[in-house]
């Protein structure tokens, strides 16, 4: 009997897949292979999932990693009970979520938080309760400029600066229209930083602000067009960014500008959603390692999601950031005295003591330190949207801005540079 070509093909794919490192077994925490059975350690997480954006991927990945840790010995034999709340992009709900997780529950830390709202509302709560937040999808300034918050993602300011720096150095950008959300601690904050950067390089930047509640992308595009910019920086969540690019395609604006964007557009579904019109024409800053790189953590994150996550958990940068925050948290907990891992004050102290943790997902070392501000991640990649995915156009590079001087000083003090 002749072999069926379809069956042969399927068998070949299966063999390749099984042989691929992406299908390696997930490795987590103590990696004992034995489930943790002791008294649970409570860890909280808050994400924002409502219009205009879904920021659940960081807590999804953190949850998968914690499930993997629990299946592999937990924290000195104790499982992590991960409690996640949705702030619904609403300050009242954000305050209530923190009240429940921080004040009503004996959580030792918050991990994987991703939101546009909750850090601004709850920064004081975290400080008053002396609980550390190892966030992963921070989008507002409070996440980087308060004592109890530290994030593995970069947030809009560095990621936009990275994209602007690339456009200025490689694409010849002289005037950038920064299309940000009309939120003082998000779009305005990051677009102002881009303006300062461009001025320092002899160029200019014009902010074009969009109301997140009722985003009128056509008006914003017209405003960008009228500004005389040569480059458009789409400083938006993925949903609105796609709407902007779709509107620009309808008006055939592609070749009039350089198109750049920060990390939210770095999502594997984006190239197909955009279609061939945009392939090769949009440059995106990646805050963490591009998804096609196969370092140990990059592969382990995928393995963890495959084994312990849900099928629809997003494979995006914020997912990577959630995994990283969870992994660094577990590493710090495993280095603690087992008697102290349920004590919030001691866990906070251990988190502040984190220094020099590394991962192939991050360009630089991760650290926390005892400071009023934290931004350990301020170097990244640039990728280009191409058919079927993304192509790296610039490898790890550090962003050039006076904003990072105080962070560099701390890194020097910690011996990380």
């Amino acid at each position: 009997m002749k072999p069926d070509l379809k069956q042969l093909g399927a068998a070949a794919v299966a063999v390749l897949a099984l042989g691929s490192p992406a299908f390696a077994a997930a490795e987590c925490g103590a990696n004992t292979g034995e489930p943790a059975t002791g008294e649970p350690i409570f860890v909280g997480g808050i994400h924002g999932n409502a219009a205009p954006g879904d920021w659940t991927s960081s807590t999804d990945s953190a949850a998968a990693y914690f499930a993997c840790v629990n299946a592999n010995g937990g924290i000195h034999g104790r499982p992590i009970e991960y409690l996640v709340e949705n702030d619904q992009w609403n300050p009242e709900a954000a305050a209530q979520a923190a009240a429940r997780l921080v004040n009503d529950t004996d959580t030792v830390a918050m991990v994987g938080n991703g939101s546009f709202i909750e850090m601004a509302v709850n920064a004081g709560t975290y400080e008053a309760a002396d609980i550390m937040v190892m966030a992963s999808a921070c989008a507002i300034s409070e996440c980087f400029e308060t004592p109890n918050l530290v994030s593995t993602n970069q947030g809009p300011l560095p990621s936009n600066l990275g994209a602007a720096q690339y456009a200025q150095e490689e694409l010849g950008a002289e005037h950038i229209a920064c299309m940000g959300l009309n939120i003082p601690n998000n779009g305005i904050w990051s677009c102002n930083a881009v303006a300062e950067f461009m001025e320092s390089r002899g160029g200019q930047s014009t902010p074009v602000l969009i109301n997140p509640g009722a985003p009128d992308v056509n008006s914003a595009l017209l405003e960008a067009l009228a500004s005389g910019a040569d480059t458009i920086l789409i400083n938006q969540p993925a949903g609105i960014a796609l709407a902007i690019l779709s509107a620009a395609e309808e008006q055939d604006l592609r070749d009039m500008f350089n198109w750049i964007a920060p990390t939210p557009l770095y999502d594997l579904s984006v190239p197909d959603q955009l279609g061939s019109y945009w392939h090769g024409h949009v440059f995106v800053n990646a805050e963490l390692a591009p998804l096609n790189l196969e370092g140990p953590d990059a592969l382990n994150w995928v393995a963890v999601l495959d084994e312990f996550g849900n099928e629809d958990d997003p494979r995006d940068t914020f997912g990577q950031a959630g995994y990283l925050s969870a992994r660094f948290f577990v590493k710090a907990m495993l280095e603690m005295d087992p008697a102290d891992v349920g004590d919030r004050a001691k866990v906070s102290e251990a988190i502040r003591g984190i220094s020099g943790y590394t991962s192939d997902l991050m360009c630089g070392p991760y650290y926390v330190g005892d400071a009023d501000f934290h931004m350990p991640n301020h170097a990244g990649y640039m990728v280009q949207i191409v058919e079927g995915g993304f192509e790296i156009v610039r490898d790890c590079y550090e962003y050039d801005s006076p904003y990072f001087e105080r962070h560099i000083a701390i890194e020097t003090e910690l011996g990380l540079r």
Binding site: P91, E92, Q96, N103, G124, P184
Partner: protein, 330 residues
């Protein structure tokens, strides 16, 4: 004068409920529920304002949450821009919103029913755009007071630094709001409003200054909405334009009707439906959006069978029970 201070059975039950909220609830509730109840108490005050306008004059205002935003805006601006005590800022916020309510009322005074509702809805839409465009003050300079980047810390009242104390503080403010409404109801404005509600022409013929008393009522509605917004700002330390959408004003009015606009219990029920039911559903593991279905069913119920809302039905049931008992005793 004796009638002015006469406490009705409904009044006693209101004072008892206030005492329960002020004395017991903060001791019993955890941090999460304290936060939920504080929001609910703020909205009780705002709903009391819009319900009062509807019950006394039959006027439909769909701007109440927008007016809360005005009060919250003034509170944040004063808190960040001056060293005045919270209480002074609260009064100024309420008064500023009252003036705003007057300004809103003047062109709308000749309108009634659907047309007035539409005008107030458009005002709410306008406020929504202003809030989204200019944002809420967060410690910056200039008129709008918006700083780029992180917000400056907010000063809570010296008397109410803890969440428990702040819930008591808001509950006392809400009680004062209800007493203000009741005071007006028992004085000349209350009589004038009753006459205007029956017939504007008759009221004018009787010498009632209709313009003055309608404006007055809008002012009180604005005052209570402004105070509620200022208290909400105090609870969170910052405000977001998403909280003050025009659709929320429509929702608040609809729930005021569901709760029962004529009674103080109606405002409490409406605030409980609006702010306590969704977290309760969430706590039970049910999607909080189910609350909207319940609101819709409640509105249908109120429109079809209960014009006095849930509070009216409850009061009716209690009165009927007492009447039966009296008949049985006799």
């Amino acid at each position: 004068m004796r009638g002015l201070f006469h406490v009705t059975p409904s009044g006693w039950s209101g004072l008892g409920f206030a005492a329960f909220v002020i004395l017991l609830v903060p001791e019993l509730a955890g941090s999460y529920w304290l936060s939920v109840f504080t929001s609910a108490a703020c909205f009780t005050l705002a709903i009391a304002g819009v319900a009062f306008l509807y019950a006394r004059l039959g006027l439909v205002s769909l701007t109440q949450v927008g007016l809360m935003g005005v009060g919250g805006w003034v509170m944040l601006r004063l808190n960040h821009g001056t060293d005045l005590p919270f209480e002074v800022n609260l009064v100024l916020s309420a008064l500023a919103t009252m003036v705003f309510g007057w300004i809103l009322a003047l062109p709308a005074l000749r309108l009634r029913g659907l047309y007035l509702a539409l005008v107030t809805l458009m005002a709410a839409g306008g406020l929504e755009i202003v809030f989204a465009t200019f944002q809420f003050p967060n410690g910056g300079e200039g008129f709008w007071g918006v700083t780029i980047g992180s917000s400056e810390p907010f000063r809570r009242p010296a008397l109410a630094q803890s969440p428990e104390a702040y819930l008591r503080y808001v509950a006392i403010c809400a009680l004062l709001g209800f007493l203000l409404i009741e005071l007006h109801r028992r004085l000349q404005p209350g009589r004038a409003w009753a006459m205007i509600r029956r017939s504007e022409a008759a009221a004018m013929a009787a010498g009632v200054n209709v313009t003055l008393y309608k404006t007055w009522a809008f002012g009180i509605c604005g005052l209570l909405g402004g105070a509620a917004g200022a208290l909400l700002a105090g609870s969170l330390g910052l405000l977001d334009d998403g909280t003050f959408r025009a659709s929320e004003s429509v929702m608040v009015f609809a729930l005021a009707v569901v709760g029962g606009a004529r009674y103080w219990q109606g405002a409490v029920i409406a605030a409980a439906l609006y702010k306590i039911l969704p977290p309760l559903l969430s706590t039970w593991g049910v999607d909080a959006d189910l609350a909207f279905v319940i609101f819709g069913a409640g509105l249908l119920h109120a429109v079809i069978t209960a014009p006095d809302g849930i509070a009216g039905q409850l009061r009716g049931a209690i009165v009927a029970r007492f009447a039966r008992k009296e008949r049985a005793d006799a």
